[in-house]
């Protein structure tokens, strides 16, 4: 048995090639690599764009939509989103004596039944400023009740809203109760002074949207009183997202509210995450008894009730009634919310400081601050960023909740939470007052959560091998 014996002549030197050791794929730093992977995550990128849009909405929005969020427009209360409207200009309200019977004698005996009032009509043009109703007397009646419905009444029990009652000598009624430009079914029912006869006359009216001349001037819709004559049309204030229960512009309020909500939502987490990093970093890096003491204190802080502290801070800072509770809210958040981040960072630091490369760096003479700045902090950044993105929605929710229960902003300053609180009362009749702030809270929270998810995946270096 012979073994194969290679000879030198059997080998030829390989020709030298250029670039055999050139790195063909681009060199990516940790952050570039994360960014590449984040970009592949559609949900995260959409969320990121939404967050940028929200920032633009909050910071630049007021420059494009320059409306005072506290200005009340009582001509347009609880208006749903709509296109620009024009209104009839009318003279200022003049009180009206109505139609009365001279030398009225109440009926001596009350009849069992009476005929319905006749000739039920309006006097003057019905507008959203005033609707004046007049009818002819019913001989044996000693009073009349006036009703208004927004649907066609189906029988006597369905006459709608009882607007008012008149005495027997009054044959007119003036309705000014939150009139809108829509169909109204008015009914007038004769009474014996207390009880109603089961008969009525009906009238359908569609008042025209109207604004008084003085009001138009005061609101800046016209510049001088003789710009628009009575009887002409004028364009009234435009509210693209409608108005709230005092006629305040929803869009302007949402922008102003966003400032409060996003301020708390971003500043508070930033501050308490920084506190958490420092605290957790120290505990983890120094370790030992020091670590135990620090972490037990963190456990103690976790056990403190947030709401109670919020109230205590409010009192301690002398924040009186009717003043904004945003600062105590911020301080309470920062003072009580850091332990979660601290624990996370401490865990990471404990793990990282035992790694081989740390040992190597230490052997090569790396000092503590170098090790922390160069190796430990950058390696915990992924975890920290993810905590931060999840902390933002939590803080926005906290603010919304506290404003919802009246502990947050003071009126008239809105925040999304307080707007929800006001909107929920009118949820069934004017859903837009709840819908828009609730939608914005939901979108913001969802966007930050999805971005957080995306970042978790992108910053986790173990995911890298899958590509």
């Amino acid at each position: 048995m012979s073994l194969f014996q290679p000879e030198t002549s059997m080998f030829e030197p390989l020709e030298t090639q250029d670039g055999a050791e050139v790195i063909t794929r681009p060199s990516l730093s940790y952050w570039q690599d994360a960014w590449v992977r984040l970009k592949k995550n559609t949900r995260a990128i959409i969320s990121l764009n939404i967050i940028i849009l929200l920032a633009i909405f909050t910071l630049l929005g007021p420059f494009f939509w320059d409306v005072d969020p506290a200005l009340q427009d009582l001509n347009q209360v609880s208006q749903p989103p709509s296109m620009p409207k024009t209104a009839l200009v009318v003279g200022s309200y003049q009180s009206w004596d109505g139609v009365t019977i001279e030398n009225y004698e109440p009926p001596e005996d009350y009849a069992d039944s009476v005929p319905a009032p006749t000739n039920f009509r309006t006097e003057g043009k019905p507008t959203t400023q005033v609707v004046r109703l007049v009818w002819d007397p019913v001989p044996e009646a000693d009073g009349y009740n006036v009703y208004r419905n927004v649907r066609e009444p189906q029988g006597f029990a369905d006459l709608g809203l009882p607007l008012g009652a008149t005495y027997g000598d009054e044959l007119s009624y003036e309705d000014r109760l939150s009139l809108e430009s829509r169909d109204y079914y008015y009914s007038v029912v004769p009474t014996d002074g207390i009880d109603e006869y089961e008969i009525f006359a009906r009238l359908v009216i569609t008042p025209q949207l109207a604004i008084t001349q003085e009001d138009a001037l005061e609101r800046g819709l016209i510049n001088r009183i003789d710009d628009v004559a009575i009887g002409e049309l004028v364009e009234i204030e435009f509210h693209p997202l409608g108005t709230d229960y005092l006629g305040r512009d929803m869009l302007a309020r949402l922008m102003e509210g966003a400032r409060v909500s996003l301020f708390i939502g971003i500043v508070a987490p930033l501050l308490y995450v920084i506190v958490g990093i420092i605290y957790g970093g120290f505990a983890g890096y120094i370790g030992g008894r020091f670590d135990v003491v620090l972490m037990r204190f963190a456990d103690f802080v976790v056990a403190l009730p947030f709401l109670l502290f919020m109230i205590l801070f409010k009192i301690a800072f002398g924040i009186g009634p009717g003043e904004s509770g945003i600062m105590p809210m911020l301080i309470a958040l920062v003072l009580l919310m850091w332990p979660a981040t601290a624990r996370l960072v401490r865990g990471q630091v404990l793990q990282i400081r035992e790694e081989g490369y740390i040992e190597a760096a230490r052997l090569l003479g790396g000092k503590n601050h170098y090790l922390i700045m160069r190796h430990i902090i950058p390696n915990t950044m992924g975890v920290i960023l993810v905590t931060l993105t999840f902390a933002v929605p939590a803080a926005i929710f906290t603010e919304a909740f506290l404003s919802f229960i009246g502990m947050g902003v003071a009126p008239p300053t809105p925040s999304w939470g307080s707007m929800c609180n006001e909107g929920v009362k009118t949820m069934l009749s004017h859903p837009h007052e709840l819908f828009f702030p609730a939608l914005l809270i939901s979108i913001t929270v969802l966007a930050f959560n999805l971005l957080g998810d995306g970042l978790t995946e992108a910053l986790d270096s173990k995911m890298r091998s899958r590509d």
Binding site: A70, G160, P162, I194, L246, R248, A410, P411
Partner: protein, 531 residues
């Protein structure tokens, strides 16, 4: 799955069982809800409306009001009245719920008890027209010196401190209800704490009272007028202040009566319920703090606010609930004057809405107060309507006058405490009538009245109140109050906002429920269920 079906069936059965009708024709029974647990059923100490409503059914005073608001006999069958004396002749068939007769001594005892300083009744002042009442309440005289005595078992004689035109009407008020001495002393502090600790002389008795949950009123078989009472029982099965919850109970057929508010009425309309309207007779207004250290003590500042506030806008656009009337005066429109209504005889002066005039007043106020006016604190209640009104005022004063307002939202008790200590600039206040006379509103801004929490003090007004209190001549009294109305307006002592109106639902099969401006409201005493 089967378990779920069984469970669902059980649930459905449970719900069906519970959804009996709120009215029962056979048994003449109705089921209603009240807004809160009655805080105090001792008639000597009760102050609030819910207690007043319950006590109005359980107790009967010397006189009562009929459905048109006229005074009719209660325990007294007739009475005589002079300038210094009122004599009541009691019926002999009036009985307590344990069968013993209601006597003159029970009335005298009740009034003395209410006046004793140890009772600390907030309504003690209502007895002050009676001789020595004020001194007894201050502890300067023993209670048996009260100018009300029982001449015999069935005659009460009242000596008056001063001529009081409205004294008969006063005795319909709940604090004037009788209390029987032996029963009261036997119960001690427990009196009226539970259903067993009460004795009734009204149309109904209360056999069950589960605190904070429910109570039940049943026809009193010992009541002298029981033949004219049709209802056998009023079940108060629910106690909740939540109007939406009550509307749901009404919709589900659990209760026969509920009040609506600015939002719930829209749901009631869409369900085609018959809505009724009632003006409660209460006046709501902004009360200013007149203490000298407050900026609101400056008349020009108050005048400025008076000229930008439009009660029409408040009533029609902000409150937006039918039944409210525009506020023009502390005296509501329903008060009687000499022959007609007071407000028809003495029309309330009103300020013409004018921002320009208001700004002139404000300028003067700034000069007098030395520069800028600090933010005003507006104290309001914690109901949605109250905070809405507060925000409206805040926006109004900011937009029209550039005045900053801070809204201080407080619960009722806390608001009252802050009002008493003077910790406010403006407060959203309301006043409901206790008896059917102009003085129930007239002395509210008298400097000695403890309910004048803004400490308004004008000797001219005080003088007019004294004239109206001490006279029995209607013309003199009304002239004085007409002049007083003008003074309050000239001083801008308060800012009347609205006269309260409410809307409510009542089961169509219940008839004869009376809504009252004064006295127990709603009053089911003479209600009946029709088939």
């Amino acid at each position: 799955m089967r378990h779920i079906t069984v469970f669902l069936t059980c649930l459905i059965i449970l719900f069906q069982d519970a959804s009996a009708s709120p009215v029962d024709f056979e048994n003449q029974t109705i089921t209603v809800a009240i807004e809160q647990e009655p805080p105090q059923l001792n008639s000597a100490k009760a102050t609030d409306q819910v207690s007043g409503m319950v006590l109005g059914h359980l107790m009967e005073g010397l006189v009562r009001y009929d459905r048109r608001g006229r005074v009719v006999p209660g325990v007294a069958t007739r009475w005589e009245m002079t300038d210094d004396k009122a004599t009541f002749y009691l019926r002999k068939d009036a009985r307590w719920s344990d069968g013993k007769p209601v006597t003159a001594h029970d009335f005298v005892f009740a009034w003395r008890t209410a006046l004793k300083p140890i009772t600390a009744s907030e309504y003690a002042f209502i007895f002050f027209p009676i001789k020595n009442a004020q001194a007894i309440n201050k502890g300067e005289m023993p209670a048996d010196q009260l100018g009300a005595i029982a001449l015999d078992d069935y005659t009460v004689e009242v000596s008056l401190e001063r001529p009081t035109a409205y004294f008969i009407k006063l005795t319909a008020f709940v604090t004037f209800s009788p209390i029987r001495e032996d029963f009261f002393n036997a119960k001690g502090d427990e009196y009226a704490a539970n259903a067993d600790d009460m004795l009734y002389n009204g149309a109904f008795i209360m056999p069950e009272w589960t605190h904070s949950a429910s109570l039940k009123m049943v026809k009193n078989q010992n009541y002298w007028n029981k033949d004219n009472i049709t209802l056998n029982a009023i079940n108060v099965d629910y106690i909740t202040a939540d109007t939406r919850a009550r509307l749901n109970l009404y919709t589900d057929g659990k209760i026969a009566f509920t009040r609506l508010d600015g939002e719930t009425y829209k749901d009631a309309l869409s369900q085609r319920f018959r809505i009724r309207r009632f003006t409660t007779g209460s006046v709501f207004f902004i009360e200013y703090n007149h203490r000298p250290e407050r900026v609101t003590s400056n008349i020009n500042l108050r005048k400025a606010i008076q000229h930008v506030f439009d009660p029409d806008e408040m009533v029609n656009r902000v409150l937006a609930v039918p039944g409210n009337l525009r506020g023009e005066s502390i005296f509501p429109v329903w008060l009687n004057g000499v022959e007609d209504k007071f407000r028809r005889e003495y029309p309330a002066p009103t300020a013409r809405y004018s921002v320009a005039t208001a700004k002139q007043y404000l300028e003067r106020a700034r000069e007098q107060l030395g520069g800028e006016i600090p933010p005003l604190v507006l104290l309001v209640g914690d109901s949605p309507t109250a905070t809405k009104q507060g925000e409206y005022m805040q926006g109004l004063l900011l937009n029209k006058l550039g005045l900053e307002v801070k809204i201080d939202v407080q619960t009722f008790k806390q608001r009252l405490a802050k009002m008493t200590s003077g910790d406010f600039d403006m407060v959203g206040a309301g006043w409901g009538p206790d008896f059917d006379d102009i003085m129930t509103f007239g002395d509210l801004f008298a400097s000695w009245n403890l309910n004048n929490r803004g400490r308004y003090k004008n000797p001219a007004y005080d003088r007019l109140v004294r004239i109206a209190m001490n006279s029995t001549d209607p013309k003199t009294r009304m002239d004085a109050m007409g002049e007083g109305q003008q003074i309050l307006f000239d001083d801008a002592a308060l800012l009347p906002q609205y006269e309260q109106g409410i809307i409510y639902l009542l089961h169509p099969k219940v008839k004869g429920v009376v809504r009252r401006v004064v006295g127990a409201d709603p009053d089911y005493t003479h209600a009946k269920v029709i088939p």
